[in-house]
Amino acid sequence: MDWLGPEEWNAVLLSLRVSFWAVLCSLPPGILVAYALARWSFPGKQLLNGLVHLPLILPPVVTGYLLLLTMGTQGAIGGLFAEFGIVFAFRWSGAALAAAIMAFPLMVRAIRLSMEAIDPKLEQAGATLGASPAWVFLTITLPMSLPGIIAGTILAFAKAMGEFGATITFVSNIPGQTRTVPSAIYAFLQVPGGESAAIRLVIVSVAIAMAALFLSELVGRRVASKVGGRNA
């Protein structure tokens, strides 16, 4: 791909890396939170639901600023992480964190919906056959919600690829460090003569988004037929 300059190429690779880690690290908590919201009743459930969905409703700049306050090296949680050598502020890991937070509600929502569609009576049947709650989750709930997990993962990946507001507020726009594709497009548009580079990145973005959608459709359909399709 010679037609991408080294700076643009960097941005694409960085975006892929940021999105990959954002999705990978938010998948386990995403499944857990989705399961808790779908199956458990506990005090503070509505609060958790609200917190998870907050990034969807807040202006991304606000989310980014809140991240800066809490997760920056001076922040309460960021300081703790810094003790262990994990620094988020102005690093690519911070971009991944911002992308994960912004994509989290989409992921949880997709997984939760597919978990709620599972008849709890099937989980009861598993229990009467001797499966402990953990085994019921692993052998019934999880495989049956696989279409939702895949859809949520791909949706979250696409969202992470496009995250801009929270990222630029939290970790700025440092070339090679935090300059993801959207940030790069924004930067190219700020300088005279940068439009052709911006257009090339736009084309890459569109291509990646289309590929993600196509993949999710394909995998979703295959898994849905594997998981049973018609109800038993």
Binding site: T128, A131, I140, P143, A232
Partner: protein, 358 residues
């Protein structure tokens, strides 16, 4: 032996049930909405009752006074649900094998191939539940419960969701289950004919309470216990097949009295149970002459029980066993029926349907 004593209060309904289920098939028998399913769910651990004690042989499953509430997966009871509840993401084979992964290694367990053969599901093993018919699903569900090495099988109206043809398809498998597998079964049903065919003892449930329990012959022959209503009442007779006559009639022997029934699909010498519906029995003071009906059983009236309607239920003891007859109050008065009166019970041969015989 399963011993159950549970009390539970729902918002508009309460359950207060005490009974024992010995080995064999115990039917929890009552109308829909009488609380049968809630009682079975309490046994399975899917419903935690407010108060109660449930034990199976020497094991306590529940004792609220001692705060013992075994979780469902620790009870090791095979549950056959009304709707099958097969796992849609697993093949029939995967469903059948599911329970055996979790059974203790030393638990006595059924042989996979034998169960598959007994239920006739060898051809279906690689199919997903979505590609099975209702009857096939239910047979797989029976096998799944059986293969989880259960100490007891709970069956909650396993035939209720099926049409008559499918019921007739499954019933023989349930009979084989009763006769070939030594695991006790608690069988929930509102169908008299199912209970009459399968149950060795019956627990009659009404409004969440046990109204009667004991051997199937006693409970079904008791005119005071009509959990399914007077229309469905009918006593059980035990008879031995003598011969099959050429005109399509089978001759049976019930306590020394010959009975003629439409061809019974059993070999001479085998013992069968016959449900005689109360509304199919005619009562006569004298031995009737010149009557088309083939079965005439002399007996003594034990009880005349009248309800609100125009009908009365007569219980009479014959040499063949207890028989229930439902006749009008007017006839009972004309015939001057009261306990101790000698009468004849008349049963038309063709009134005994094939599903009443088993």
């Amino acid at each position: 032996m399963l011993e159950v004593s549970v009390q539970h209060r729902f918002s508009d309904f309460s359950i207060n049930a005490d009974f024992k289920a010995p080995h064999g098939v115990t039917a929890l028998f009552g109308r829909s909405g009488s609380g049968k399913t809630s009682i079975v769910n309490a046994v399975a651990g899917l419903l935690m009752p407010d108060e109660g004690r449930i034990s199976l042989d020497d094991d306590l499953l529940l004792d609220t006074s001692r705060k013992i509430r075994l979780r469902p997966h620790r009870r090791r009871l095979g549950y056959i649900f009304q709707e099958g509840r097969l796992f849609p993401h697993l093949s029939a084979r995967g469903n059948l094998a599911y329970g055996s992964y979790f059974a203790p290694r030393n638990a006595p367990r059924e042989n996979f191939d034998r169960v598959v053969e007994m239920l006739g599901i060898g051809q279906l093993l690689d199919r997903k539940p979505g590609a099975l018919s209702g009857g096939e699903k239910q047979r797989v569900a029976i096998g799944r419960a059986l293969l989880s090495a259960p100490r007891m099988i709970l069956a909650d109206e396993p035939l209720a969701a099926l049409d008559e043809a499918r019921k007739a398809e499954i019933l023989p498998y349930l009979e084989r289950l009763r006769d070939e597998v030594s695991i006790p079964i608690l069988y929930v049903s509102h169908s008299v004919s199912e209970v009459a065919r399968l149950a060795t003892s019956v627990v009659a449930i009404e409004n969440g309470k046990v109204t009667s329990h004991g051997p199937a012959v006693d409970v079904l022959g008791d005119p005071a216990v009509l959990p399914a209503g007077a229309r469905e009442a009918g006593a059980l007779l035990t008879a031995r097949v003598e011969t099959h006559h050429e005109d399509g009639i089978s001759e049976l022997n019930a306590g020394g009295i010959p009975l003629f029934l439409p061809r019974v699909p059993r070999n001479p010498g085998s013992e069968i149970r016959i449900r005689v519906a109360a509304h199919d029995v005619i009562i006569s003071r004298n031995r009737p002459e010149g009557l088309s009906a083939l079965n005439i059983l002399p007996g003594i009236v034990q009880e005349v029980r009248s309800g609100d309607g125009p009908g009365v239920m007569i219980a009479l003891d014959t040499k063949a066993g207890r028989i229930l007859a439902r006749i009008t109050r007017r006839s009972a008065q004309t015939l001057e029926l009261s306990p101790g009166v000698h009468v004849h019970a008349v049963i038309k041969t063709v009134s005994v349907a094939p599903h009443d015989v088993g």
